[in-house]
């Protein structure tokens, strides 16, 4: 779960990291009022859960409250990489002397948290990693002993930070690590971390990703969860307990298991089709869940065919079949279904589905090919 900049900086502030956090505005008028309270100049910043907002025109300096309102007007509603800007953050402007990058991230390969710092702050760190890898200093945190003072020195000396700023930097990184731990984060990034012309250290922008599996113990963060970027289908799927991702194609997929669901999408693509979604009904789904899943798939007008691929294990084929029959009975649709059910209770499933007008395939490849063909017949691109 990604946090907005304003949520990340609020979290930073709560852990004692120096931030100058302004106010969030939903309208130009709110932005003007915020700018008046904060005092100009201010920076108006799009709040979107994606990068590259600067280049997209999502960050602007405003000299007066009216100017802030005007800048908010141009930013609100912008589309940045598919994300519509619904919020801006109005922050006090600061004089930047130096920009630093510092982030704590999960290094999956090392099974550890990794702190990365660079004197090349403000830039896209992945670009730095490619063009100037030696400019990034890395330290891994051993969970058996935690973050140690020597690691803070490695970072500070490594990025060539002048000695007078070492203590403030060590304190900030320690607190950022506290955020990382306390928030069950898989990313806690400050970019840029700045030194003002007055020598003050500030976290100017922040990015935090919280482990979705840990939300049960992240009360406040979980309550603040933003789902405005979810499609209606994704929201409905989440409520139904389904793993679902909206895609652009024409073939709806219903599969049990994430790996098999991805593989089913891949096979559709391999035979020239385009999947309309990723949908994993999970293990042991009952008929009603299958019906809900089909409702979500069929609500998408672009769907020209449905591929149902079930490998019964915990999931019982007869339950899935019952869900299909219920969906066909309750939802008016002429979209063709290709159904492949193997494994646990597959025979019972065939019996239940005997009277339904369905297509089938012995193998995944065969079923996928059939679905692609049916979708094409119905005018899929």
């Amino acid at each position: 779960m990604d946090l907005f900049e304003y949520q990340a900086k609020r979290l930073f502030g709560a852990h004692g990291i120096p931030v100058k956090l302004g106010e969030v505005a939903r309208t130009p008028d709110e932005a003007r009022a915020a700018a008046e309270r904060i005092g100009c100049p201010v920076v108006v910043k799009a709040q979107v859960l994606t990068g590259g907002r600067g280049k997209a025109g999502g960050v602007k300096l405003a000299a007066t409250p009216d100017d802030a309102a005007e800048k908010a007007r141009t930013i609100l509603g912008l589309d940045i990489k598919g994300h519509t800007v619904k919020l801006v953050l109005v922050d006090p402007a600061v004089d930047i002397a130096t920009e630093i990058y510092v982030a704590i991230t999960l290094d999956r390969a090392a099974r550890r948290a990794l702190i990365m710092a660079s004197a090349e702050g403000g830039m896209d760190i992945e670009q730095v990693a490619v063009e100037k890898p030696e400019a990034i200093v890395r330290v891994h945190i051993d969970p058996a002993v935690g973050l140690q003072p020597y690691q803070l020195r490695q970072l500070a000396f490594g990025i060539g930070l002048p000695a007078p700023h070492h203590a403030a930097f060590a304190d900030l990184v320690t607190r950022l690590h506290n955020v990382f731990e306390a928030a069950d984060a898989t990313l806690a990034e400050v970019n840029p971390l700045i030194l003002t012309t007055a020598g003050e250290m500030l976290a100017l922008d922040g990015k935090v990703t919280v482990d979705a599996s840990a939300l049960y113990r992240q009360g406040a963060l979980a309550a603040d969860r933003y789902d405005g970027d979810l499609t209606d289908a994704e929201r409905a799927a989440r409520d139904a307990g389904l793993n679902y991702v909206d895609l652009d194609g024409s073939i709806g997929c219903l599969v049990n298991g994430a790996g098999l669901a991805m593989a089913s999408m891949d096979v559709i693509k391999l035979f020239g089709g385009e999947p309309a979604n990723f949908l994993d009904i999970g293990g042991g789904a009952q008929a009603d869940k299958v019906e809900k899943a089909l409702r979500i798939i069929l609500a998408d007008a672009r769907v020209k065919a449905v591929l149902i691929n079930i490998f019964g294990g915990i999931t019982r084929g007869d339950e899935v079949a019952r869900g299909i029959v219920a969906a066909l009975g309750n939802i008016a649709t002429d979209v063709p279904f290709v159904v492949r059910i193997v494994g646990t209770n597959a025979e019972a499933a065939q019996t239940i589905l005997a009277d339904a007008k369905l297509h089938s395939g012995a193998t995944l490849a065969e079923a996928a090919q059939k679905a692609v063909q049916l979708a094409a017949e119905r005018g899929a691109a």
């Binding site: 969970p143 593989a263 891949d266 494994g343």
Partner: protein, 294 residues
């Protein structure tokens, strides 16, 4: 043959009285696995019924190991108790710990995997289907009826996709030494390289099937390991070629982020290591059959 467990393994189940735990332990027993004990705090000494009748119950893993000599544990406890359960098993001297539980916080697994690995203990999972040595032992939830003993080692980050492949192999009469599902979370107790090393060392394994997916760099690490250390033929598959970046594809670890972890780069890495990569799951069994000369 077996790489982690066999017919002599003495299997303990943590969370045996839960819905999932009871159901799957029943299947483990029915498939001939030597289930010697169950642990549920507060239910020590209680009698189990049905397929589990006769399996003694304990309050702690320490008690269970002392009484039964259990050396393998299968964990079905809820996610918030999973870290504790793994550490309890490790502390009690269990040598192979299989964690089926999904939705375990990543920070818990950072602590736990580092701890158990530093002690030389094998931990499989979390969020995995476990493993099966056909004709030997089943520890987890892989259906036994789609497996048969034979020369192929299977390792995978996925569940049902693996079943699909096992089913296809078995249907063609190609059996398996062991199939291991290492799980789809970002931080796993066991990675591809660990299992590949075991299969390479196992004289019964003639060919290895490796099923990866998007996210992380474990497939790339596995490819490098194969190029350097594996002399047996390897057949690979990567799921998620059509997955969009930035979206979690069901498994917490299956996500392309910052342009990293794509199927395309993983497939390139596997091919560069001389691994035959199937274009779709059905093709895996075809390639295996060809390589085994069947």
């Amino acid at each position: 043959m077996s790489i982690y467990v066999d017919a002599s393994s003495r299997v303990l189940v943590q969370g045996i009285t839960g819905r999932e735990g009871a159901f799957h332990t029943g299947h483990m027993v029915k498939s001939g696995t030597n289930v010697v004990a169950g642990v549920t705090p507060g239910k020590g000494g209680q009698a189990l019924e049905g397929d589990l009748a006769g399996v003694p119950m304990f309050n702690t893993v320490r008690d269970a190991v002392k009484a039964t000599g259990a050396d393998v544990s299968c964990i079905f406890v809820p996610a918030k108790f999973a870290a504790d359960a793994v550490l309890e098993a490790a502390d009690a001297g269990i040598a192979v710990i299989v964690t089926i539980t999904e939705g375990v916080p990543v920070h818990d697994m950072i602590r736990v995997t580092n701890s158990v690995r530093s002690r030389g203990i094998t931990m499989i999972g979390p969020n995995c289907p476990g493993m099966i040595t056909p004709g030997g032992a089943k520890v987890g939830i892989i259906p036994a009826n789609i497996c048969t003993p034979g020369p192929v080692g299977v390792v995978s980050r996925s569940g049902t996709l693996t079943y699909e492949v096992l089913h296809a192999l078995t249907s063609r009469g190609i059996g398996q030494t062991t199939a291991v599902g290492i799980g789809g979370d970002p931080v796993q107790g066991t990675k591809f390289v660990d299992v590949l090393a075991r299969f390479q060392a196992d004289p019964a394994t003639e060919l290895i099937v490796m099923i990866g997916e998007i996210g992380g760099t474990d497939e790339e690490a596995a490819a490098a390991f194969v190029a350097a250390n594996v002399t047996k033929p390897v057949v690979g598959f990567i799921a998620g070629q059509t997955a969009p970046p930035g979206k979690t594809m069901g498994h917490a670890g299956a996500i392309i982020s910052g342009g990293k972890g794509t199927a395309a780069e993983k497939i390139r890495a596997l091919q560069a290591a001389g691994i035959a990569v199937a274009r779709h799951p059905d093709e895996i069994a075809e390639i295996v059959a060809g390589q085994l000369g069947r």
